[in-house]
Amino acid sequence: MAILTIRDALNQALREEIIRDENVFIMGEEVAEYDGAYKVTRGLWKEFGDKRVVDTPITELGFAAVGVGAAMAGLRPVIEFMTFNFSILASDQIINHAAKMRYMSGGQFKVPIVFRGPNGSAYQVSSQHSQALEAFYANFPGLKVVMPSTPADAKGLLKSAIRDDNPVVFLEQERMYGIKGEVPEDDDFTIPLGLADVKREGTDCTIVARSMTVPLAMQAAEIIQTDFDVSIEVVDPRTIKPLDIDTIVKSVKKTNRLIVVEESHAFASVGAEISHQVMEQAFDYLDAPVKRISCAEAPMPYAKNLEEMALPDVPKIIQAIKEVCYL
């Protein structure tokens, strides 16, 4: 096992898939000569050249569309958004075109495309650069939505996303690019989409966390274990759509308590969906109401103290655990 950052794990995945399949190319703003705004594509342009690593004008709707058309005509584009906030400009292509093409064409066309880039908050980049958009994209049939939280997951899931024949929205997190972890060295290491991972086994309370809230949940679990001897299970769905609800339900049936921690806003969120599905499938197993920790119901502020208040953090998770476990 190699120790890699999430950034380098993603870079390896891209590199290996570019080598593996001549139809794979990456396209986006600053991905080539500049080495990527967040250096995820570092070195790829130098190694593979203009054909496989393509700088675009700042024209998100346009290059997303080029990706969709190229995918329909047999290529496997990886479209990088410098941040997913900019994907909103391209959402007509992602939602109205990529997601529906297979269905509208009666199954004649597939759109094997990955839209990837950082989702959610960074550090003090304010309202228009801090949104977590997974619920938005997960709402539409035809799209898959992936959110890795570790270097190994990042690599294995990105490789699967590139090989998948459907449009995949692959959401990274800017705060997490530097997180290190073990990554298998096998060139063919993949993690199937739609499979949750139990990041920490426990018996007393389930926390479903994704992306940047996974490390927060892990820290809170350790503190609660030490201070109260309460055992927390942390489930990371990794793929939001399709959602591995079975693993979540199985965990809840064991612990009888559920907390969902998410970086997005609460209203109509993925957490709301998980709460609902658990209510449907494990209502009788719940010993406390499902608790959610989400981003404050306000656009993201700039000021450091306000931004910290808006986001989930370890103390908020500990407080939630105390509430559902009656500590």
Partner: protein, 377 residues
Amino acid sequence: MPKTATRQKTETNENSTNGAAAKTVSNTKNNSGVTDKVNRKEAQTENVSRKKHQTDSIKRIEPKLLKEMLYQMVLGRYFEQKCAEVYRIGKIGGFCHLYIGQEAVGIGTIMALREDDLVISAYREHVQAIVKGIPPEEVMAELYGRAGGIVGGKGGSMHMFDAARGFYGGHGIVGGQIGVGTGMAYAQKYKGTEGVTLCFFGEAAVNQGMFHESLNMAALWKLPVIFICENNQYGMGTSQTRAMSISSVAKKAEAYGIANEFVDGMDVLAVREATERAIERARRDSLPTLLEIRCYRFMGHSMSDPGKYRTSDEIKKYQERDPIVLFRSSLTDAKIISDKDYEEIENRAKDAVEKALKFADESPLPDEKELFTDVYA
């Protein structure tokens, strides 16, 4: 005719049409406040010039192909007329945008392609789909929402697709397909095929950001795409003059360094010749072209359009420039077809449409399980 001469001719056409429009704005405002863009005398003069052009062009094209072009135009006309008829009795649902009046554009362009070239269009695409090779039966069954439709009843009027025949839809978001078509050409170049992509859109889509984003990328990356703006002069009920600050669509290409032509969309042979020049540029030099093909739809925007934004007089005058009537008369004068031949063409087209209706009527409804198929690959 040498290339330069044709180019000059299309430019002259553009000037005269623009001139007519400018003149009539002040001259012929009618009581309803709708501006009548057609001056009858100029229309007749234009017709004479078109006729002359067609008579010259006919000599350079195989008679068999000319007859097939006329057949496709007549077929398209009957097909759409029948659609209107059965729509009114509820056999077709939803939106239904008809191509009547614009046949010269679809036939003139698509029939200049090679079989492996690709086409993508907007939502007024029934006839284009047929010309690209989708059997009329499968287009009609799709309109009927039946299992025998080209996409099994999942798309309807706006979403005809045929992967094998290179017809990439059938798209309902104004301008969305311009970028997708650019991407198809991107893939053709990436793979080193010599194929080209024809990308259709209306003049109203030119006001969308996507048009400009796509032209920029197509020029930047030298893509073999032919942008075909079917300028029927109305974006739904809003006339081009009320929606576009600079009325020449073709000239907008110059902002991106893209070759462009203004083409008379009532003259199927002028359309074919302009398309052939664009195809050569795309295939040989991998360069994009924008063709602004001026046409007119004889029907409303869709079947639910009461059409209050234009006068029946305006429509009638354009109907006098009917591209089928013109082409038939040119072919007759050139002795390519006789009246009897035309009658045969009409009968063949009518039979094909009747066959399509019968097929659609007899085709079963989609199986209920189809609701959930093809969501994911």
